[in-house]
Amino acid sequence: MYEFDYHRPTSLDDAAGRLSDEDAKLVAGGMTLIPTLKLRLAKPTQLIDLGALPGLTGITEDGDSVVIGGMTRHADVNRSEVVKRVVPALAAMAGLIGDPAVRNRGTIGGSIANNDPAADYPAGVVALNATVRTNKREIAADDFFTGLFETALEPGEIVTAVRFPKVAMANYQKFRNPASRYAIVGVFVARTSAGVRVAVTGAGASVFRVPAMEAALTASFTADAIKDIAIPDDGLNSDIHASAEYRAHLVTVMARRAVAACG
């Protein structure tokens, strides 16, 4: 790890102000960033720890939705009675991330700000049509994830919370890499008041929706309705774990399983 200056600000303004140094980096749970630093894939001048900021953790019910603070850990989302009641599929998804010790550190804000192509949260945020809150504005899920490790976050912008509307039916199915536990392909299906949303992680450079499946499932919410919908493998991820062609195949398999699991 290269040396850096470590800061632990106690106000959001102080944390955001330090980001005027473009080589400064935020650390939330550190479950991705610290391994990245160890591999010397990043060389920040300053590490700005969000761990001491007040008001960024916790889960609250707000009318027909649940608001999860940006620094809320996966273990807390997984165990939350509120999340289990309002968006149970999200609580279940959080319990599939990494392993128990990782879930005791990793955060929702860190996960979505990093936007790893194989992370689980992006699929949940997009399928559930969540809204990302930052220190500056609100960003709709469909506008938030913009590419490989890229988001709509601007310099100096920090994720403070994510709001998930109550969902009638949803399920996440993940075909995971048994070593890293990241998604080779993960499909989150949600039946919302605005129609069915299908979000895929692990398969492409960033999370994406499958409009053909959404239309078919809005007409008939059954696993059979999408059994013949194949997505093209052009541009999908291909590595030693799975070819693009195999990932494309898995998208349909995982989507069918998710719909079937919705009961």
Partner: protein
């Protein structure tokens, strides 16, 4: 940039001067001499470095020492009561749940975290909970038996005789 970190380790105050990039596991092993916490993979996969921070299991190779400022850390050295092993440690011995022993400190710390959240885990729940702890000797079978036995004793119940019989004492007969 050097920083002074003050924390509580195994119930006692501890202070160390470290760099920003120093990991908690380095502070424990190199500054405090607590070498029971191991570094296996150094990539947060193997779990040999699991300790408790404020009562929760974390991987000490993936937390900066400076992030433990003011926190309460429990390592494997703080688990036993003097010369009396903790029931979970005793259960690992009873069930021959270790061979080389390298993964054992992390296994015991994860087991204690599991039992705190789930005092009566099933075999399936134990196996799922250990997904972040790798053992390359035992095949996990006896580790799972040990954790179920340790949890049973921690609940104040008498465990059934282990399927292989008690491992300790056999050689002395």
């Amino acid at each position: 940039m050097q920083k002074t970190v003050s924390l509580t380790v195994n119930g006692k105050p501890a202070t160390a001067t470290v760099e920003g990039r120093t990991l908690l596991v380095q502070l424990l092993r190199e500054n405090l001499g607590l070498t029971g916490t191991h570094v296996g993979c150094d990539t947060s996969q193997c779990g040999a470095c699991v300790v408790h921070v404020d009562g929760e299991a974390i991987k000490a190779c993936t937390l900066l020492a400076v992030q433990a400022e003011g926190r309460n850390v429990l390592t494997i050295e703080g688990v036993a009561d003097g010369d009396t092993l903790h029931p979970m440690q005793e259960a690992f011995r009873n069930n021959h749940a270790l061979q080389c022993g390298f993964c054992t400190p992390g296994m015991v710390m994860s087991a204690l975290d599991l039992v705190k959240n789930n005092p009566k885990p099933t075999e399936k729940e134990v196996r799922e909970y250990l997904e972040g702890n790798l053992c390359r000797c035992t095949g996990y079978h006896n580790i799972v038996l040990a954790i179920i036995e340790g949890a049973t004793v921690m609940r104040g119940e008498t465990p059934p005789v282990a399927p292989h019989g008690p491992a300790h004492g056999v050689a002395a007969e």
